[in-house]
Amino acid sequence: MKNVILLTLDTLRKDILGCYGDENGLTPFFDSLEDKCIRFTRAQSVGPYTQASFPGILTSSYYLEYGKEKKLSPKRTLISEVLQKAGIMTAGFHSNPYLSDYFGWNRGWDVFYDSMDEDVSPEVPYLKGNEINSKVGEWLSSHTRGREYRPFFLWLHYMDVHEPYIPERKYIDMVDPSINLTRNEMFNLFKNVVLKRDMPDEKTLKLLKKLYHAHVREIDGYTKDFFDLLGELNLLRDSVVVITSDHGDEFGEHGGLSHDGKMYSELIDVPLLVYDYDRARGEVHNALLSTVDIPPTIIHLFGLEPVRDFEGRSLLPPGDYAEKGCFGEAIGKIGHKEKDTDKPVYFYRVNDLKTIYRESGNIWEMYNLKEDPKEVKNIIDTSSEARHMKEKLRSRAERRARE
């Protein structure tokens, strides 16, 4: 039985990876993994920001299912809980406050490090990938050397691509050496533009994207370091690594910045790679799938019985995966601060048709992603599929309203 490692990358857009078509050369290491990975091209997150997305990734359920509680409902089942009960060693290392012990995510973990006791600076308000790698490395070394070796499930999460977009000089130089901002200037950009969601001029927007790109290069490096670590500990052949992100980031595609209560592709499309040294041969799968399928996939990899509470299905073996539609839900806030008056926003996608329903204002949208990948042409009033798609979302919204 192989170990399973889940590597999640906060705020990483799918389209920024070379192996997904980006031509800026920002992810040489990710791209190099291709022939030992199964690559899924149409993975959808179940929500456009961390709180809305991680219930899918770690509990195979949806954000608004148990009311609008900020803390993880005890009724949800975490993948760590299932695995721990089955005797598998479970360890989680991250620095996202929304996934901390405080918000109820510390269940079922033999080791859980959420870094909330550490002091961080406003410029880097999280633990960098190399610091996470260091903590992971300490644990992995001692676990694999110990007498009581058991198969493990390791979850690690990197925050480096998340705003405030203040990359180090060496990463800026990899993207555009002509950028000459001080850290203070970059921080002001974050405070005055990104935080306020003020759509900037073209020049500033380009600059923000480049700072984001610099962080992407940074995270590619940390991922390489992590795999090097696995190599040193002889774990590469004995571990399956599932790599994904919780959501993307907006750079003006729909009039905004950062990641909020919107359901467009720049936020919902996520990369999904399954690294398996000797069993994967660079296959590419185009089935439409959701991150809600990740926990059942992990269950399958450990050879365990399917979990009734998990709403997704195993992605493996890929040939057995039956495509269905995908859902997503979130609070439709624009701007980070959730207010009690914020109402939900939902999406439903099947094949290349996506419908979005925003309760506030009763706004319906529908896009044909094949013909209109940028989601600018709303066909809700003209599409023959509109009625069916609306029904799907309406009944879901009604169910949530009752819960």
Binding site: K71, P74, P97, Y98, S100, D101, Y102, F103, G104, N106, R107, D110, F112, D114, M116, D117, V120, P122, P125, Y126, H162, E163, P164, F190, V194, L195, S258, H336, K337, K339, D340
Partner: protein
């Protein structure tokens, strides 16, 4: 309970009593106050202080409890019952001004300009710049007003020089080097006082052993799986249906059912742009 554990408990209690006695050498009873949440640690702390007072014929200092607006009814009932049993004149503190501004309703918005002068000044002091906040159990602004401010006000108005609290070293990595006596510097709106922590050296397991050994009362919520009790909205049972003392205290985190370090978490969220 085996003899070794009994002996261990007795030693821990004696050590705590020594700290309390040292406090009574430095401060008069009338200058001290004991905080009591109704939880297992603060009840143990209160029990120890009370034992010393009974043994040494000293007046029990003022005992205070803070109503943050989202208490478990089981805790409130426990406080009422035990204060009667131990003949304690319990003082209930509450920031009524905040409750007035939100009609005592969790989830309602409080407008800063509706608050009294002191509350407004306190918000300014912690750097809270917005003009309203939601009244909820663990909100940064709300918590500061409901807990910290009300405590500071009590200390000021009653000339309290020392506060006995129920902190334990094993609760958080940050507490590893805490001392029994800590001087809190005075500042604007923050009265100078000394914090006394007599049970620092108790572990979670020690607390339960001691409770059993001396039949110290505890709230019924611990029987159904709660390990740590705070506001209703933010406390969850760790293992539903399993009494706290039967859970794996050594290998599962005590406060996983509660906010681990609320202010640090809120601070992180702010820095990431989330608040």
């Amino acid at each position: 309970m085996n003899e070794e554990v009994k002996k261990g408990c007795t030693e821990l209690v004696e050590k705590s009593k020594a700290v309390v006695r040292e406090a009574f050498e430095k401060f008069k009873s009338s200058e001290m106050a004991v905080t009591w949440t109704g939880g297992k640690d603060s009840t143990t702390n209160l029990w120890i202080v009370r034992q010393v007072c009974l043994e040494d014929n000293i007046d029990l200092p003022q005992v205070i409890t803070i109503d943050e607006g989202d208490a478990f009814t089981e805790i409130t009932d426990f406080l009422i019952r035990i204060s009667k049993k131990w003949n304690i004149d319990l003082e209930w503190l509450c920031n009524f001004d905040v409750l007035r501004c939100c009609q005592s309703h969790l989830g309602n918005t409080v407008k800063v300009k509706d608050l009294n002068e002191r509350n407004q000044a306190e918000l300014k002091r912690i750097g809270f710049e917005e003009d309203s906040f939601t009244f909820e159990a663990e909100s940064y602004a709300g918590n500061h007003l409901m807990k910290t401010v009300v405590l500071n006000q009590f200390i000021q108005e009653n000339n309290i020089k020392a506060l006995s609290m129920a902190l334990r070293r094993d609760e958080q990595a940050a507490r590893k080097h805490d001392e029994y006596f800590t001087k809190k510097e005075g500042g604007h709106l923050m009265p100078e006082h000394t914090r006394i922590s007599p049970i620092l050296h108790f572990s979670e397991r020690d607390i339960w052993n001691n409770i059993r050994l001396h039949n110290i009362p505890y709230c019924s919520l611990y029987e159904i799986g709660y390990r740590s009790l705070g506001a209703r909205a933010t406390s969850n049972p760790m293992a539903v249906g399993v009494p706290a003392w039967e859970q794996d205290l050594e290998h599962t985190p005590e406060r996983a059912g509660r906010r681990q370090d609320k202010e640090k978490t809120m601070d992180r969220l702010r820095k990431l742009g989330y608040m």
